[in-house]
């Protein structure tokens, strides 16, 4: 089933920006699109962008939903560390990779439940509620690994991060599948609309009979699960759980991806697809920095400038000026030619 025209229209600005970011890559490195088949895997910069984008892409699936409810999840980076640590310690204890994966997902789910509990039941503001786990979570992860980089050599687990299926790196397959699955699930059921409703006006939604509490908890749990998966991939990629650095500051990248995807931080209408493209845009920007060969002190300045450009282009104000963006800009302002009489429109 191809995407509906309306979906395409929604993600058009993101696609254009992605194209621009890729073009920039070609500019600094002409062979950017060159792909080989080497050592049993596809080998090329584009593959890297897709592969390296996996953690942020996975995070932003959950993050999009959380942000749609007018929340935010700062703990995802820490949850990644916890999940990676759990997975590593389980395989190091001699269990199979399936057990490890399930244990990691369970850990992520528990973290998500905890966040959801704080937000939905104790009514703590999301940013502070998740700040607690952001601070403590990394400590918990280190508790699991006892501060070291817990290395492992279980081929099954490693396959999740560094393996290939039919030449394609596994992480790509994982995030693409999960992204499409979740995007499809929220739109095929009524979940999407209900989530948007509580994000826009929780009071009205509750009065309309939406079980906002359960829904909020679910959303944070999904975010925890996505983070856990990302954590496992990152650990598997380097064959070790690095509790201190895994997912460090990735929450910011994930939030950025969601915003670049045109989703409002004030909750409401969302598009997971657009967020995923946002994640790819960020990874393309990172790729430009790496390929440009500039000294690392300039990394942050380049990134800041590129991001600012992207955001300015996306700003609703600018959007009004640019026709192609206006077609799907969040809030088109008037000054269109007068339409036929109002009666006709009704």
């Amino acid at each position: 089933m191809g995407p509906k025209p309306s979906t395409l229209k929604r993600v058009m600005p993101q696609l254009l920006i992605l194209a621009a970011a890729l073009a920039l890559n070609v500019l600094v490195f002409p062979e950017f699109f060159h792909i080989d088949f080497r050592n049993g895997r596809l080998f090329g910069n584009v593959v890297d962008v897709l592969n390296r984008g996996a953690p942020v892409a996975l995070l932003c699936i959950g993050m999009t939903l959380v942000i749609a409810t007018r929340g935010i999840d700062l703990s995802v980076g820490a949850v990644m560390a916890i999940a990676g640590a759990v997975a590593a310690s389980v395989v190091v204890d001699g269990h199979g990779w399936v057990t490890a994966l399930l244990a990691a997902l369970a850990a992520g789910g528990v973290c998500g439940l905890w966040n959801g509990f704080l937000v939905a039941v104790l009514r703590i503001q999301p940013i502070v509620a998740t700040l607690v786990l952001m601070v403590a979570g990394r400590g918990i992860a280190q508790l699991v690994t006892e501060g070291k980089i817990l290395t492992f050599s279980d081929p099954g687990l490693i396959h999740l991060g560094a393996g290939v299926v039919a030449g394609i790196p596994t992480p790509i397959l994982i995030w693409v599948t999960l992204g499409l699955l979740v995007a499809w699930a929220v739109r095929k059921t009524a979940l999407g609309m209900l989530i948007e409703a509580i994000g826009i006006n929780e009071r009205s939604s509750r009065l309309a009979g939406i079980n906002s509490r359960v829904l909020l908890i679910c959303v944070y749990t999904v975010s925890g699960l996505c983070a856990a998966l990302a954590g496992v991939i990152v650990a598997a990629d380097i064959k070790g759980a690095d509790a201190n650095n895994a997912g460090l500051w990735l929450e910011l990248d994930a939030i950025l991806a969601v915003v670049i995807g045109g989703n409002s931080l004030l909750g409401g209408r969302f598009s997971i697809l657009a967020s995923l493209i946002g994640a790819l845009i960020i990874q393309s920007v990172n790729s430009v920095i790496l390929l440009s060969g500039m000294p690392p002190e300039f990394n942050l300045v380049i990134k800041a400038v590129l991001i600012l450009c992207i955001l300015v282009i996306q700003s609703p104000r600018i959007g009004n000026l640019i026709y192609i963006l206006r077609a799907s800009g969040p809030q088109p302002q008037p000054d269109r030619p007068p339409l036929p009489k109002k009666e006709a429109a009704r």
Partner: protein
């Protein structure tokens, strides 16, 4: 009848050829408006006719797409409401637009606080606020947060603020929607004082009685165009309605005879919450409309919320068809086929950024659960049928509901609850902000629903309306059930007496 302005009247405020386009809608089309000094000028029109939009264009809240504005013969260009306030135009916008986090005095004086040595003089501000509000018959503590007071009191505060701001023109967009008679009279007193000082007042309302009470002239809008400007002394209500609707409206609402009610449906026994509402009991049968009457703050809204589980009761019980049910949250109530169309549509009702379609379907979908989405075609069918039935004016079902005019939002909310096909429908101020035409339609709808065997509980401040459709009227005073009127005893006079008369408590 085109222009009643004689050449020697120099208008204070004049708008010429104002136009405003929204995607899919022409909200204003070449509108002219002229205000004489010292007059009350009513702005009339159906829901969505463009009244609020015109006000917003005049005061700089919206940028207009065409037209000129002149103040005292000088062309002005207010870029923001702050500008228009500086020009001496005070405005109360539709829906209370005050800040819930500030105190009463801070709201009243925001932007023009009394200063001493460069700092806000709080004590003086509070004192002055108390004095100002005393002039409106309010004895409130200006240091309390705004939310400590009911919507009605907030409305009065908003009016007081606008009056203080207006050196030349005062604009009131549906200021009386949540006020009751005495407060309306108080407000009219204030308006008369202002016009005596030479201010021009723009007054928007759907209560035609009030229009004829206070206004000198009226401009009628229909579909964003001026139909005409009339002197109130020269026209009848019927004429005005015809101008607004573009068609005749049958005689005004009257009391209809009611057939026998059906089986008992909901029985409420001693439901109460401390500090909010005293224990009350009520039986409602199928095919019965119970009206809830009372003054502002008498506890009607709280009663409705308690029954619906929006507020948790701390004693009493609810029986549905003689079986006790637990209603601890709206979800439970909805599961038992209750529905509540809330009073404060902006906060409790609409989900602003969601499309009108989704808003209409929301409660039904929530009841079905997320697993069973209502098919797209079915959704469209339901939404379209209600848009037609309730005559909701919109550019498309996909537009966010917050862009609808106030009255149309109210209708869309009604549609949301009707779509759940409830057994027991609670309506809290269902006709607030609804135009005369739709008003009659909604009353007809209520009667229709009753005839179909639904049980309804309707809280309203409009006596005539209550009289028209209620089989019984329960009167509340001071958060207490004081009396009940049935049958022929239901007349506006009796209700007023029951509300006011302390001695007559049942």
């Amino acid at each position: 009848m085109k222009d009643t302005l004689t050449p020697d009247d120099r208008p204070v405020l004049r708008a010429r050829g104002v136009s405003k386009f929204f995607p899919g809608t022409i909200a204003l089309d070449d509108v002219d408006l002229a205000l004489r000094p010292g007059e009350v000028h009513a702005l009339l029109g159906e829901n969505g006719a463009g009244k609020s939009t015109l006000i917003k264009c005049l005061t700089g809240a919206y940028r207009r797409d065409a037209g000129l504005i002149e103040l005292d013969g000088q062309e002005v260009e207010p870029q923001s409401t702050a500008d228009s306030q500086k020009l001496g135009i005070g405005t109360v916008y539709q829906e209370v637009n005050l800040l819930p986090n500030l105190t009463v005095a801070e709201n009243l004086f925001l932007g023009r606080q009394p200063m001493r040595a460069g700092f806000v003089a709080r004590r003086r501000m509070n004192r002055e606020a108390r004095d100002v509000l005393a002039g409106y018959g309010l004895d409130v503590d200006p240091g309390e947060p705004l939310t400590a007071y009911s919507v009605a009191i907030q409305q009065v505060i908003a009016i007081a603020r606008a009056v203080e701001m207006s050196g030349k023109v005062l604009i009131l967009d549906e200021p009386t929607a949540s006020l009751d008679r005495d407060e309306v009279q108080l407000l009219f007193g204030v308006i008369r004082q202002l016009t005596a000082r030479g201010l021009a007042v723009v007054f928007i309302t759907h209560f035609l009685d009030q229009v004829f009470d206070i206004s000198d002239r009226a401009t009628v809008l229909r579909n964003g165009r001026v139909v005409g400007t009339v002197n109130m002394s020269e026209v009848s209500q019927r004429d005005v309605i015809t101008m607004m609707l573009g068609r005749q409206l049958e005689a005004r609402v009257q009391r209809h005879e009611v057939g026998p009610a059906g089986k008992g449906l909901v029985a409420i026994e001693g439901l109460a919450k401390r500090g909010m509402i005293e224990p009350f009991s009520l039986n409602i049968r199928e095919g019965e409309v119970v009206g809830l009457a009372g003054l502002l703050g008498s506890g009607r809204t709280e009663t409705c919320n308690l029954i619906f589980g929006a507020v948790q009761a701390d004693q009493g019980r609810i029986l549905l068809r003689e079986k006790e049910i637990s209603v601890s949250r709206p979800r439970d109530a909805i599961a038992h086929r209750f529905a509540l169309c809330p009073e404060d549509r902006k906060v409790d009702g609409i989900v602003g950024d969601l499309s009108v379609r989704d808003n209409i379907i929301l409660a039904l979908q929530a009841r079905q659960g997320w697993m069973r989405p209502i098919p797209r075609a079915k959704v469209n069918e339901i939404a379209e049928s209600y848009v037609r039935a309730l005559d909701i004016r919109l550019a498309s079902l996909d537009m966010p509901i917050r862009l609808l005019s106030g009255g149309n939002q109210q209708k869309a909310l009604l549609a949301r609850w009707l779509a759940t096909n409830p057994d027991f429908l609670i309506l809290d101020e269902p006709t607030r902000g609804i135009d005369v035409g739709a008003h009659a339609e909604i009353i007809a709808l209520i009667e229709q629903l009753r005839a179909d065997g639904m049980a309804l509980l309707v809280a309203s401040s409009e006596m005539e309306e209550l009289v028209a459709y209620s089989t019984r009227v329960v009167v509340l005073r001071d958060r207490q059930q004081v009396s009940e009127l049935t049958g022929d005893a239901i007349t506006p006079e009796n209700i007023v007496r029951a509300i006011a008369d302390e001695g007559e408590a049942a």
